[in-house]
Amino acid sequence: MTVESDYRDRGPTIGRPFPDVRLPDQHGTMVDLHEHRGRRRAVVVLYRSAVW
């Protein structure tokens, strides 16, 4: 099992801008994460799958 510190190093760095992300949502509509966020705080949840 990987130690937790390895996981904390994963992904965008704390203090840095979260990268631009454009992906279709559940309705097939293209969503630009930062545009949709506007000036709000945000939570981005990475998860395994909605299907399993």
Binding site: P17, D25, Q26, G38
Partner: protein
């Protein structure tokens, strides 16, 4: 629980490799209104550096066949962004099989309990001196497989009495909480103990750390069990020793039993 964050002013995004029709079905089944983003092919998951390369090896170890698209699975991680879009916090699970219930996130970020808690469970020490009583409730009415939920435990110690904190001198019984029966795979994670108050008895050199009055503890319960496991019945034992300034009672315990239904499968 994520809609609570939306109402608190957060934009909420969830990213997985699933196709939009699968996400639409999931959203309909779970009344999800926030954005479920479809990263089919896992390009963004790779670019963000959150691909779980170890999954195939883990799955092989568990004897489960991996479908090709499942190799594009992300680490279960949550990023909290500030108003300018910078990463303020990362919330990471050390065990890739576990997913925090949204409830934890709500409590972490808003400092308030999510709504829809599970039913309350009560237990009291028996005997002529019923000094300790406990109330517990799960932060969710049901569990998803591989989810971690919080069991809120409130212990009340009668006035004039105390129980010992997790660190005690030899010869005393510390407050200890165990799952004593339940399905294999349902475990209690590390407990973040509330700070115990220092306590001295005149004439004794030892310093104790004690809990008095009402003690609130959140117990992380990890449901590392497959789908269709059904209702999980758990018995949780709280071991303690109560003392006053003048006397100590023998170690005692209270038992909390709970039945947690499985959340409906979409």
């Amino acid at each position: 629980m994520l809609p609570i964050l939306e109402r608190a002013g957060y934009a909420v995004f969830a990213i997985s490799y699933d196709r939009p029709p699968d996400l639409a079905a999931f959203a309909a089944a779970h009344h999800v209104g926030y954005a479920l983003l479809s990263d089919e092919g896992s390009r963004v998951i790779r670019e963000l550096g959150v691909l779980d390369e170890a999954l195939a090896a883990h799955q092989a170890a568990f004897g489960v066949t991996v479908r090709p698209e499942q190799l594009g699975v992300a680490y279960p991680m949550t990023f909290v962004l500030d108003e300018t879009g910078r990463v303020e916090r990362k919330i990471v699970e050390a065990n890739y099989r576990l997913r925090n219930g949204g409830h934890w996130l709500v409590e972490e970020l808003l400092g308030e309990a999510a709504d829809e808690p599970g039913p309350r469970i009560e237990a009291t020490t028996t005997g002529p001196l019923a000094i300790v009583s406990g109330r517990a409730w799960l932060d969710s009415p049901s569990y998803f497989p591989y989810q971690r939920l919080g069991l809120h435990l409130e212990l009340s110690v009668a006035p004039g009495w105390h129980v010992y904190g997790p660190v005690v001198p030899v010869g005393y019984t510390a407050l200890k909480i165990d799952v004593v029966s339940g399905p294999e795979g349902v475990r209690m994670g590390p407990i973040a103990w509330p700070e115990a108050a220092p306590f001295r008895i005149a004439g004794l050199a030892e310093e104790f750390s004690v809990y008095e009055g009402t003690v609130a503890i959140t117990l992380p319960l990890e449901f590392t069990i497959p789908r269709n496991s059904g209702v999980v019945r758990l018995e949780i034992a709280v071991h303690f020793q109560t003392c006053s300034v003048t006397e100590c009672l023998p170690p005692n315990e209270i038992s909390l039993t709970l039945a947690v239904p499985e959340a409906p499968v979409p």
